[in-house]
C-alpha cells in the first residue's frame, strides 16, 4: 500500500528547542492515530505537515508530495480540523463552511451546495443558519469537521476531535469518523489524548514521546494476528493436556492454576479443542482471545507497567484510556 505519510529524519525546532527529533517512519493506514502525552509533539507534527512550521532538518512527504517543496499542493489535498476553538466571527454556520470551501477552490455555487450537505452530514442541518459564535462546544466541533470535509480532501487531519464533547456527542463524532474512514476514499490522521477514540477509529498508531517515536503499532495486523491467540482457563488441565494440544499443531504453554495460553494455526478450530478437552475429561471454564490492547501498547511505549510504576514517564489518568 502506498505511504500516506512518510517522515524522513524529520526534525523541527521552535524557539531554540528541538520539538520533533529525527522522526523516521512510513504510515500507510486508512486511519492513523497519533498518541502521546502533552508536549509529545503530536500537534507540532500535524502543524509541520500542514506547512505551519518549517522542518529544521529532514523532510516529510504527504501522499507522495514533499512538504518542503510542494506545501501548497499538500494543503490542497488536506482537510484540517484544529484542536482549538476556531471560527470566523459574525457568520452563519453555512456561510462559514461555504467560504472555507471557496478558499479551497470550489466554485461559489458548488460551495454553497456542499456546505449545506456537509452540515446535514455532521447532523447540524437545522442549525446551519445560526451564527457560529452562538453554537455550543459540541456544535462547534461538528462545524469544524464540516469545514474540514466540505471541499472533499483526500486526507483529513483531526486534532482532538472529541475534545469537550459529552458522551452522546462523542459517540456521534466517533461514528462519523468511522463512517468517513470506511468509505475508503479518504484517509485520516487522528491525534487524540483518548486511547479509546484512537482504538475505535484507527488501524495504525504512532506513539510519540518527547518528540521521538516511542512506538509504532499496526492495530489492524495486531488484531488479525491476535485472533489466534487464546487464553484458556481449565479445571483438570495439566501438562499432558498441553502436550495433546501441541500435537494438534498449536503452540501452547501451561502457566499454572489451569490457565493455558495457546496460539492456534489457521487449520485448527475451537471445536477441536473442546473435543480434546472432552476426551481428556478436562473442563474448559473460560476461553477468550487475548491480545495487547492499545493501552498495553501505550503503557509499554511510555515505560509504564500496569501497576503504574514508571521510569519517570507520564502515567495515564486511570485506566479509562485518558492520558
Amino acid at each position: 500500500m502506498a505511504a500516506i505519510i512518510e517522515l524522513d529524519r524529520l526534525e523541527v525546532e521552535l524557539g531554540g528547542r528541538t520539538i520533533l527529533k529525527q522522526l523516521n517512519c512510513s504510515l500507510t493506514g486508512r486511519a492513523i492515530g497519533l498518541l502521546g502525552p502533552n508536549g509529545a509533539g503530536k500537534s507540532t507534527l500535524i502543524n509541520t505537515l500542514l506547512g505551519f512550521y518549517p522542518p529544521s532538518a529532514g523532510t516529510a512527504r504527504v501522499l507522495g508530495r514533499d512538504i518542503r517543496t510542494a506545501a501548497r499542493n499538500v494543503r490542497s489535498l488536506i482537510g484540517y480540523m484544529p484542536e482549538s476553538d476556531s471560527f470566523i466571527a459574525g457568520m452563519s454556520g453555512v456561510r462559514f463552511v461555504r467560504m472555507m470551501a471557496e478558499l479551497a477552490g470550489v466554485p461559489a455555487e458548488a460551495a454553497l451546495e456542499r456546505a449545506h450537505e456537509a452540515f446535514f452530514y455532521v447532523g447540524l442541518g437545522e442549525a446551519r443558519y445560526r451564527e457560529v459564535g452562538t453554537y455550543s462546544l459540541g456544535m462547534k466541533q461538528m462545524t469544524k469537521l464540516a469545514q474540514a470535509i466540505v471541499h472533499g480532501p483526500r486526507l483529513l487531519f483531526l486534532d482532538e476531535p472529541t475534545n469537550g464533547l459529552d458522551p452522546p456527542a462523542r459517540q456521534r463524532m466517533i461514528e462519523l469518523i468511522r463512517e468517513i474512514r470506511d468509505r475508503g476514499d479518504l484517509q485520516l490522521v487522528l491525534s487524540s489524548h483518548l486511547l479509546h477514540d484512537v482504538e475505535e477509529c484507527c488501524d495504525q498508531v504512532l506513539i510519540l514521546k518527547d518528540g521521538s517515536i516511542a512506538a509504532f503499532s499496526n492495530l489492524e495486523e495486531e488484531r488479525r494476528s491476535n485472533r489466534h491467540f487464546l487464553e484458556m482457563e481449565t479445571r483438570g488441565g495439566d501438562a499432558a493436556f498441553v502436550e495433546a494440544i501441541q500435537r494438534l499443531g498449536c503452540e501452547a504453554a501451561w502457566s499454572g492454576n489451569g490457565v493455558i495460553k495457546l496460539v492456534m494455526p489457521d487449520e485448527v478450530g475451537i471445536r477441536q479443542l473442546y473435543r480434546l478437552a472432552s476426551e481428556r475429561q478436562v473442563q474448559i471454564r473460560r476461553l477468550h482471545h487475548k491480545r495487547d490492547s492499545l493501552e498495553d501498547i501505550f503503557l509499554k511505549a511510555m515505560g509504564v507497567d500496569r501497576a503504574g510504576t514508571n521510569g519517570g514517564a507520564a502515567r495515564p489518568e486511570g485506566t479509562s484510556g485518558r492520558l
Binding site: G15, G51, I88, G90, L103, V106, R183
Partner: protein, 299 residues
Amino acid sequence: MAVYRKTYRRYQGALTPEWSRCLVLTRYSFEDMKRRRMLALIVLGSSIWPVLCALGIYLHHNLSALKLLDINPAKLIPINALFFMTYLGVQSMFAFFLTAFVGPGLISPDLSNNALPLYLSRPFSRAEYALGRISVLWILLSSITWVPGFLLFGLQAYLEEGWAGQNLRILSGLFIGSWVWILLLSLLALALSAWVKWKPVAGALMFGTFFVAGGFGSAINEVMRTKWGHLLNLSHLIGTIWVSLFEEPMRLGAGAAFFRVARGEEIPVWCAWVSLGAFCGVCLYMLARKIRGVEVVRG
C-alpha cells in the same frame, strides 16, 4: 426547501484559479460591510467634495451659468495642479477616517477567534490572506481618491480642448499620490489590526501614529534645531511626495493645514520616499509576525 443528501462525497468538479481565491475574502468582507450604516455615511460624505469639484469645473466652462449665479469668473479657483492637489488632500482625510473605521476589523476578529489555521491549512498563503484583506481597503480608498480624481480630470479634459495633453503630470500625480497614501494607510491599518485585538483601540492608534509621531518629530526639530524630525511625521512625508508629484511649490492648499510645511524645513524628496518605505517595511514585518497558522511561543 432544498433536500440535501446526508452523505459525504468527494468533490469532482473544476476548481477556481488559484489567483482568484484571495478575492473570496474581499467579496465576503464587502458583503459584511453592507450592514454597517456608519460606513455608508462616510462613503456618502466622501463623495461630496468630488461633486463640488465637478461643479466647479463645470462652472468654469459655463459662462451663462456663472452669470445666472452672479459669480465673477475671475474669482473661481483655476483648474490646475493645485486644484487637484487640494482635491486629493481633502479626499485623503476621508480616506483616513474610512481606514480608521474599516481597517481594525479586518484581521483582529480572525486572530481573536483563531481562524488563521483554517485559512492557512488550505492552498492559500499568508500573502494571499493579507492581499485578500488589504484589497478591501484598496478598493474602498481607490473609490474615493484617484477614481473620482480621474473622472474630474476627464471632465476638465472634455470641457477644455488641449488641456489634458498639457497636464498629464496631474494624472500621474493623482494616481501615484493616491496609491502612496492608500498603501501607507492600508498597511498601517492591517498591522495595527493584527496586533491590537480591540477594534476601537486599533482605530485610535491610527490617529496616534499620525499625530503623536508628528508631534514627536516636531519636538525633535525644536530641541535639536534640525528639520530631520519631519522624517517621523507621516503627513509631512506624504505632503513632500505629493508636491513633488504634482510639481507645485510647497504652499497652502494641499490638504490645507494637514500637509503644511514651514519654509526652510523641507526635506529632500528621496528622504521622504525612503522614510515612507521604511515605515511600510515595519508594517509588513508586523503583519508577517502575526499572520501565521500557529503562533510560536519563544522562551
